[in-house]
Symmetry: D5
Subunit: 92 residues, 10 copies
Amino acid sequence: MLFLVRMDVNIPADMPEEKAAAIKATEKAYSQNLQREGKWVSIWRVVGEYANYSVFNAESNDELHEMLSGLPLFPYMDIEVIPLAKHPSDIH
Amino acid sequence: MLFLVRMDVNIPADMPEEKAAAIKATEKAYSQNLQREGKWVSIWRVVGEYANYSVFNAESNDELHEMLSGLPLFPYMDIEVIPLAKHPSDIH
Amino acid sequence: MLFLVRMDVNIPADMPEEKAAAIKATEKAYSQNLQREGKWVSIWRVVGEYANYSVFNAESNDELHEMLSGLPLFPYMDIEVIPLAKHPSDIH
Amino acid sequence: MLFLVRMDVNIPADMPEEKAAAIKATEKAYSQNLQREGKWVSIWRVVGEYANYSVFNAESNDELHEMLSGLPLFPYMDIEVIPLAKHPSDIH
Amino acid sequence: MLFLVRMDVNIPADMPEEKAAAIKATEKAYSQNLQREGKWVSIWRVVGEYANYSVFNAESNDELHEMLSGLPLFPYMDIEVIPLAKHPSDIH
Amino acid sequence: MLFLVRMDVNIPADMPEEKAAAIKATEKAYSQNLQREGKWVSIWRVVGEYANYSVFNAESNDELHEMLSGLPLFPYMDIEVIPLAKHPSDIH
Amino acid sequence: MLFLVRMDVNIPADMPEEKAAAIKATEKAYSQNLQREGKWVSIWRVVGEYANYSVFNAESNDELHEMLSGLPLFPYMDIEVIPLAKHPSDIH
Amino acid sequence: MLFLVRMDVNIPADMPEEKAAAIKATEKAYSQNLQREGKWVSIWRVVGEYANYSVFNAESNDELHEMLSGLPLFPYMDIEVIPLAKHPSDIH
Amino acid sequence: MLFLVRMDVNIPADMPEEKAAAIKATEKAYSQNLQREGKWVSIWRVVGEYANYSVFNAESNDELHEMLSGLPLFPYMDIEVIPLAKHPSDIH
Amino acid sequence: MLFLVRMDVNIPADMPEEKAAAIKATEKAYSQNLQREGKWVSIWRVVGEYANYSVFNAESNDELHEMLSGLPLFPYMDIEVIPLAKHPSDIH
């Protein structure tokens, strides 16, 4: 079951650089683990913004929320979730 | 070069049903041709709406506009285009 | 899996009254069938508006879209879907 | 008398973690008390957000405001209240 | 129990003038009846707009919805309802 | 001459509690004086929000601005003013 | 007492040209009368839009509403009214 | 003096095709004349929309409004005008 | 050449009072100089807000930007500029 | 391939002036380098705002994102990107 997710990152300007770097490193590992498991299907940078659009494959809303709220950057993100269904013109 | 595209369809309520059906059939063929060519990479229905999110792979902005403005349903659509870049956490 | 759904109904002013009445009757039966099946868990009128908030229980995004796009009033509705997850304070 | 309530939580980034944890614990107890009394009928997490949709059953607007403004997290919340009425298609 | 209600009226441009005049006359009588019963406490014109702000006194959300959805102009109105509570500074 | 006024209060999270309490006490006295003078006709709490809707009776725009900008909480408020006129259906 | 007023004109596309021309001529005369009386202090075209910003001098909200609702184009306008007060830096 | 202008075109769905084609041809000639005169400096299509962003060089606000309101498609356009000034980093 | 300008002032809550008072005094002098030169034609307070609507008379967009960006309160303001043209109904 | 880009700058009020000046100097050099390379085609100040509209010429979305995210002021900017295509009326 697919979901389109937009994440906008807003790290407070007064966060020490090392702390920010550490969170971002953890975030990257967290994301790549989920990508390898096939849960985080796609991730693209929004041009010109500290934001991404992603596609998630989740068994349920609960699983999706668990993945998203577990993001190391979650406290600094605005997240929008759009549930997707099969499109009748899709050839796949 | 990838673009996320959202299309919202608003067919006028007074369009004759046959005309609407004909446009939709042409639209489907048009979409599936571009999917087969690898230009229209993904298409998903937005749950509960007569709308889709799609990913396009275009050589240029001009090519993307040509594909979108050529849609049989183009006169009845609101379209939003979001240019995408490679995300540093993407494992692909 | 639960979803909160808001539906705003906009029937064109020039639709003949009998046609509107017929669609509304079909809509009511359709809704009550899904309620009896336990799919359409709750439905409330938004005070002062021709709109409702509803809770749906669906196996998947696809099933939810099928239920919503099958609504007799679907062509005349604006629908917003909010995926819900279990809340940690929920006692049920 | 039912009300749909959306609560978005925004805890200041510089609040000490213990203070935040204490408020959240009090909030949870407060919520569960009202749930046990049948006043706070439902609570769901909005997927991907530090937010919830809830249904309250209140005798009056005053009682509802008292319950909401008494929330330990109230100073850090944006709250939206939507009064609900019985829907003519509701089978309950 | 008080509610602030804003009503914006949008009569279709192609409604025959007599029909519009008849609906407005019925609307006026309907409003004045509710005012006399003490249900429709206040009504003010928004300066420069075909709109009003009103205060209603209702026993319940259901009663309020019944009053509002019974307005002869209801099909041509956008209505917003804001539930009101007693303010601690109120001297009345 | 009547005006509908909405006030949203946003006290900075780092204001010392005693200072906040003192401002709120002054605000209450200020409001009640104007209520006794018949200038501040009504004040209602917006359910679930640190906000109010009020009706003011002012001789002029200048007088209204003087009353509003003199509010002890004025620096911490977002205020919206809607000029009201007599409604033709008003029975008073 | 001054008010800033923005008027956006939306004449239906299917109004016969003569009717539109007649309304516009009446509108112009109406506006110029109020300008000569000193009630309609200023009128400017918004560049690129069928819209104007105007300053009115009215004795009261009621008088302003009477002037605005009497505009021949009133049924085809969206009007926004902003009450103005004397600015402390104003040298006049 | 430069202005950025966005134009969104909304031709009514029931306009006869020949009439639409005639207006568009006149529009194109009108635009190209102003381009040749150096008044309409740039025109770009917004990808995926029946809209353009343009840069105009006008002597005054009045001249700009004259050019824009003279557009054959003006009655069917939403136009937004953003006045531009020299940027201190501009090397030209 | 006239421009309508709206300025919303947001002075940070933690600015020392003397500094704020000093900036405001400089701002007042700056504004009154431009008023005396006939550049800042009108200034009105928006009732209930720390904001003003003003009319400027500038030779060019560049001159207007120089005047606005030179405002002592410029770093603490949100400014909106609306270019104005002569209105055909204007009698002046 | 052209893109219209709007950048709004929001430097935190508590950034030391020297630091801000240093970033702005680096920003200016960065911008002028890209202008000399023909990548940053145009840059205009938005009148009355700490913002600019720019036109970029990029080989790809990735190149554009690299240029924008490399801006020294990037962490303090809101950036909007609009992909542009050739307009059929363009004479160039």
